[in-house]
């Protein structure tokens, strides 16, 4: 529990005492019972209890409290460290580099904050304050980077987008000299490719993953512990290895050609362990009372799983699938060896080379053509929008509905498995059951 939570339980520092009229005149009187009768055995007539008067305790000293003067110290430290570092950095030693300047500024700022705070509170408090500044600034840096990346891709892509061309044309006719290159080229071939590859991967991977999760959590039995370890190991498989695996198994042996289908097989290798782990976790929170009720009614096991367990876990399974799709839709490395990439529209995922959004970004950004780089940013924008939409959808689905279809507010730990699909190892293993 954080100090905030402690202070929230007694926010005012108010102590309510019942005092009678007689004791108010004599403050040193013995304490009295709650019903107003005197604590002693002296036979006095009962005095009607006076309304309780709040008595203020002295304000507690909270080292974690953050007031205006603390803010002033921070601002002062920031400004003075800026000036100091500017003088030393540019005037005295004539260093260069914006990022180096920022880092020096930050370090001096931390030191000055410590000294400034230590002037009027204890040194432990000053250390606490500096650590808080470090922690908050690191987290804000990360949040800032995420917001910056999303905003930056949008900012680079949107002004150059010709919406009609983007979603209808491929790059078959691309010529660098073409002044209308941006309105004659688009990423439609890549959108088709990504869509078909991801759809095929979901169609193949999700039933497989759900069945494995059922095996791990419902059926169990021989070898389920080994399989859980294998799923763990597989979720850390490098995506590039998934690509070269399909390449060496199917393309090198001429079973398949470069095609969208081969790409979707490589994506299955990535999708399978992540979705399995999340679905398993979702199945684990299905109340066992439901299963037992179903079995007590005489339902066979498959019926219990099909009609009770899976419908109960539906929203979680949908979340798992959406997050899995968000994971594989941006994978580039496996597609290099399987779909290979193409500049023309190819509707048939089973025959020839096929484009994909990440592949278009990858191949276009390495050309020295400004127009192609613009197109790469447009493809990146489409890809990022897809991922964001999938992520938001997954969050919506991860909130369980209450009765009557009304969404109830999820507890803070309820959608903790959101990140699991991107993280290579299950947080909870069988030991923690």
């Amino acid at each position: 529990m954080t100090p905030d939570a402690i202070t929230q339980t007694a926010p005012e520092g108010v102590l309510v005492t019942t005092t009678s009229a007689s004791t108010q005149s004599a403050p040193t009187h013995r304490p009295q019972r709650a019903d107003g009768t005197p604590a002693g055995d002296s036979p006095q007539p009962p005095v009607p209890p006076a309304p309780p008067t709040p008595r203020r305790l002295p304000t507690p000293i909270r080292p974690s409290a953050f007031g205006a003067d603390d803010l002033l110290v921070l601002v002062g430290a920031a400004i003075s460290s800026l000036c100091l570092v500017w003088i030393v950095f540019y005037q005295l030693t004539s260093l260069s580099g914006g990022l180096g300047f920022l880092i020096c500024w930050y370090l001096v700022f931390l030191g000055l904050t410590w000294f400034g705070t230590a002037q009027f509170v204890e040194r432990q408090v000053a250390t606490d304050r500096v650590v808080a500044v470090v922690v908050v600034s690191a987290a804000m840096l990360m949040v800032g980077i995420i917001i910056f990346i999303v905003g930056w891709v949008t900012y680079k892509a949107v002004p150059t987008i010709h919406w009609s061309a983007l979603f209808t044309k491929d790059q078959k006719v691309f010529q660098a000299a073409d002044p209308n290159a941006l309105s004659n080229n688009g990423v439609f071939h890549a959108i088709i490719g990504t869509f078909e590859q991801v759809m095929l991967a979901v169609l193949m991977g999700v039933p497989f993953a759900v069945a494995t999760a059922i095996y791990l959590n419902e059926v169990r039995g021989f070898g389920s512990r080994t399989v859980r370890t294998v799923v763990t190991a597989m979720s850390g498989t490098p995506s590039v290895v998934a690509g070269v695996f399909i390449y060496s198994m199917l393309i090198l042996t001429h079973v398949l050609n470069y095609s969208g289908f081969a790409a979707s097989l490589a994506l299955v290798v990535i999708l399978l362990p992540s979705v399995t782990r999340v679905v398993e976790e979702v199945l684990r929170v299905v109340p066992s009372g439901l299963r037992e009720a179903s079995q007590a009614l005489g339902a066979p096991e498959w019926r219990t799983v099909w009609s009770v367990v899976l419908p109960t876990a539906r929203s979680g399974v949908v979340t798992a699938v959406l997050l899995g799709v968000a994971r594989i839709v941006g994978e580039t490395a496996p597609l290099l060896f399987t779909a290979f990439g193409s500049q023309v529209i190819n509707w048939n995922a089973f025959s020839k080379d096929q484009g994909a959004l990440p592949l278009v970004i990858w191949s276009d950004v390495r050309q020295a053509q400004p127009v192609l780089i613009d197109l790469a940013f447009q493809a990146a924008f489409v890809l990022m929008a897809l991922v964001l939409i999938l992520f938001v959808l997954a969050r919506l689905f991860s909130r369980p509905r209450g009765r009557g279809g009304k969404r109830r507010k999820a507890r803070p730990d309820e959608d903790d498995f959101m990140a699991r699909i991107f993280i290579p190892v299950p947080i909870e293993e069988s030991e923690s059951r």
Binding site: T2, P3, P63, G97, G98, L99, G100, I103, Q124, T127, V131, A132, V135, A138, A139, M142, I145, I149, V150, W152, V153, A211, T212, Y215, G221, T232, A233, M234, T237, P238, V240, V241, V244, F245, S248, V269, L272, P300, W302, G330, T332, A333, L336, F337, P358, I361, V365, A380, L383, V387, L388, P412, D416, A419, F422, I423, P424, V425, E429, S432
Partner: protein, 333 residues
């Protein structure tokens, strides 16, 4: 699965009803269901075996040609009559990129996790956690684009600064000037990419630190940082190490962002600030399209196998550490 009701025999009552044994007889549909589900579990197992064995099998010709020189040479080398390929420079490059990534990523990730579990206001905590999770969902190619166009121009200044003033540190020495497309920059962006992974696990481990001991520390007058230092961090140490190793696994395998940044050169170098260097995954991704070059397909597949083994070992060790620390940290007071 048989449910045995093995009731202990009662001594006092001589002739009670004999305890019955309930066995469960699966119906045919249930048997089919169980077999099918078991088959998919077996399929996952076979898939992992297939990945390892196919990569080993198709990389074997390259190993036959190069022998153990595959691990001691760098890049394409001519030995005797035929061209060999060695992975040493890429292997060291992989380790260097991962090392730089951990230097940048791990502190930021631990601070982020501490912020999410200890400092963030309860109202905004959920959305902040979602935002960090979102960072894990952003495709690596977009991180690569950002690093190439935005991060790199800024970091080159920092690299120049480091190389000019901290050249006495062996890693920061620069012998050939261009400072873009370096291992340092690649490691930096990979470090940013692993933050959400490490932070997410660390946050969970930190939130498992027992509330009783936290409150005890605070009641004894500890400040928030003292409480974190004496309760949260010691309880989460194993999980933190495991999370960092998982991040390391991710850093070793990162392909596309590194490939966009790194120039690619087959030279073992400790000078991470300067142009050049390669990693295994970058080597595979960059060289794949060039057919007929010095790098045969089998060389690349052998590289893939090496990478597969490397990440497999690290990830399994990391998950074992995380899980053990969790089961140990469950001691609540």
């Amino acid at each position: 699965m048989a449910i045995d009701l093995d009731l202990p025999p009662r001594q006092s009552e001589p002739a009670g009803p004999t305890p019955i044994t309930i066995t469960r007889d699966y119906s045919t549909p249930d048997k089919v269901f169980r077999r099918g589900v078991q088959a998919s579990g077996l399929g996952v197992f076979l898939l992992l075996v297939a990945i390892g064995s196919f990569l080993a099998w198709s990389g074997w010709p390259a190993f036959q040609t190069a022998g153990w020189g595959f691990f001691t040479h760098s890049g394409p080398v001519q030995i005797g009559s035929h061209a060999n390929f060695g992975v040493l420079a890429s292997l060291t490059g992989t380790v260097e990129v991962a090392f730089v990534a951990m230097i940048f990523g791990a502190p930021i990730a631990i601070c982020t996790a501490l912020f999410l579990s200890e400092y963030a206001p309860l109202k905004t905590r959920r959305s902040l956690i979602a935002m960090i999770d979102l960072a894990a969902a952003i495709p690596s190619i977009i991180f690569g684009l950002w690093a190439f166009f935005e991060l790199q121009p800024n970091v080159v200044g920092l690299s120049t600064w480091l190389s000019r003033h901290l050249a006495f540190v062996p890693f920061f020495k620069v012998s050939s000037p261009p400072l873009n497309a370096s291992i340092f920059i690649a490691g930096m962006v990979v470090g940013i990419m692993i933050v959400p992974i490490v932070a997410s696990i660390c946050r969970e481990v930190f939130s498992l630190a027992p509330a009783g001991e936290r409150e005890a520390a605070l009641a004894l007058g500890a400040s928030r940082w003292q409480m974190i230092r004496t309760v949260v961090l010691p309880f989460g140490r194993g999980g933190m190490i495991g999370a960092i190793m998982l991040g390391l696994g991710r850093a070793l395998e990162e392909t596309i962002a590194v490939s966009i940044i790194l120039a690619g050169s087959y030279k073992v170098t400790g000078q991470i600030l300067q142009h050049g260097g390669s990693t295994i995954s970058q080597l595979i991704a960059i060289n794949f399209n060039q057919s007929g070059g010095a790098l045969g397909v089998h060389d690349l597949l052998l590289c893939g196998f090496v990478l597969f083994l490397l990440t497999l070992v690290i990830n399994l060790a990391a998950s074992a550490i995380v899980n053990r620390s969790r089961s140990g940290a469950g001691v609540d007071l």
